[in-house]
């Protein structure tokens, strides 16, 4: 049985793969990222076998069971910082964002964040997108106890939510738009920061594709 979250992630990865495949011929994509993408996409598939196989994430048939240290072995925080850095601009805080994305929380989130953001970065680059601080963002507060959120200037993530891409989905003043913002900005940091980075990258990618 696929969970909606896993299915959405697999679909997202598949769409990214199509985008990248059309955009460029990339050996790295085929040799390194491709299998990872396949693995992420495979999360949504039923795996025949014994009960313990069903309890674990599905794997490529030829692979041995991965040790936990290997799950995050491919993560390159420096490369992710170089990708996210232009979105943040001069305000700083890239190290903090990168730590939220791939340095804290469950290891599968760290790995998934790295894979999806790296692929998005490749897609944006292949489409000729220029990565820069988004023109209009919504400040996204850290997840703090409500009674301690008294210093709004200091208690936001260094990267806000880019609003323009969401206007492709709903009118700015609509309830739906407000709900989308709410969904993207709620949750633990490894989700929220990834959401903000992905929306910013998707916005840059879509703008570049339209201009091409």
């Amino acid at each position: 049985m696929r969970s909606p979250q896993v299915t959405a992630r697999a679909m997202f990865a598949n769409v990214l793969g199509l985008t990248l495949g059309r955009a460029q011929e990339c050996p790295t994509m085929a040799n390194v990222v491709g299998p990872l993408l396949h693995q992420v996409a495979a999360h949504g598939q039923d795996v025949p076998g014994k009960w313990h196989s069903r309890a674990m994430p599905p794997r490529l048939p030829s692979h041995h069971r991965l040790p936990s240290s290997a799950v995050a072995g491919f993560i390159d925080p420096r490369a992710l910082g170089e990708l996210v850095g232009p979105l943040v601009g001069k305000t700083g805080g890239v190290d903090f964002l990168v730590r939220c994305l791939v340095g804290e929380g469950p290891v599968h989130h760290r790995g998934a964040n790295w894979v999806l953001l790296t692929l998005l970065g490749q897609a944006a680059k292949a489409a000729g997108a220029t990565l820069a601080p988004p023109a209009e963002t919504l400040d996204v507060p850290l997840r703090l106890p409500p009674h301690l959120t008294h210093d709004e200037d200091e208690q936001n993530y260094p990267l806000g939510l880019t609003l323009k891409p969401l206007e492709r989905l709903a009118n700015r003043n609509s309830r739906e738009f407000e709900a989308m913002v709410d969904c993207l900005t709620d949750g633990p940091p490894q989700h929220v920061v990834a959401n903000m980075a992905m929306v910013a990258l998707l916005g840059a990618l879509l703008d570049a594709l339209e201009q091409a």
């Binding site: 700083g92 805080g93 190290d95 903090f96 730590r99 939220c100 804290e104 929380g105 850290l142 997840r143 703090l144 106890p145 301690l148 008294h150 210093d151 200091e154 208690q155 936001n156 993530y157 260094p158 633990p188 940091p189 490894q190």
Partner: protein, 212 residues
């Protein structure tokens, strides 16, 4: 207790450690003991070393000619670059004095929680209002991407170090992504020889910065 030593020395050290910090108090007592002679210093180590492992390490190092570790101002300034607010977890008078002296416009707070019976009003009075008090219920009010949690570490051995137990109550998985930097300041600079009671072992990877 050696006949060389006055009665009540253990209680005296405990009081000093509560308000100066284990390492600052250790160097104070070691210097005072040394002024009475090397035998006196050796007696101090023999009498109190097992109970106070930081004192044991400092006394042992001094008997071998070590000096008080110099403050690495460059490392401190580098770790605090872009940081506007610092919440200090634990007490070490020498380092707190340095933080206050170099604070500029940076705000400083001290978490008023410790395993020892600390008179926090008296501790804070030393800083003439430059350091504010926060407790476990309120310290997250200082959170933010440009905020840091700073604690004192006691020697680094391999990939682990020792810190005050209250650090574990502060730096939960939720809090870790609420502060831009998680800093450990190694105030001892050498490994402990006896079992490090009063302290807890944590991986150095717990921190974003490890100051010498």
């Amino acid at each position: 207790m050696s006949e060389l030593l006055p009665k009540g020395l253990e209680d005296a050290f405990l009081s000093a450690a509560a308000e100066l910090g284990m390492c600052s108090a250790a160097w104070l007592f070691v210097r005072e003991a040394e002024a009475e002679g090397k035998d006196y210093l050796m007696a101090l180590r023999d009498a109190l070393g097992r109970t106070f492992p930081v004192l044991d390490a400092v006394a042992g190092a001094r008997l071998e000619g070590a000096e008080v570790p110099a403050l690495d101002a460059v490392a401190l300034d580098t770790a605090l670059e872009g940081i506007r607010r610092v919440v200090v977890v634990g007490v070490e008078a020498a380092q707190l004095d340095a933080l206050v002296a170099r604070r500029g416009t940076r705000k400083l707070a001290l978490l008023t929680e410790a395993a020892l019976a600390t008179d926090w009003k008296r501790v804070l009075a030393n800083f003439s209002g430059a350091v504010e008090a926060v407790d476990l219920a309120t310290f997250q009010g200082w959170a933010g991407p440009r905020s840091a949690l700073l604690t004192f570490a006691y020697g680094v051995s391999g990939e682990s170090t020792h810190v005050a137990p209250v650090w574990l109550r502060v730096a939960g998985t939720d809090v870790r992504t609420q502060f831009g930097a998680l800093i450990a300041w190694d105030v001892l600079g050498l490994p402990m020889f006896v079992y490090p009671r009063w302290l807890v072992e944590v991986p150095t990877s717990t921190f974003t910065h490890l100051l010498p």
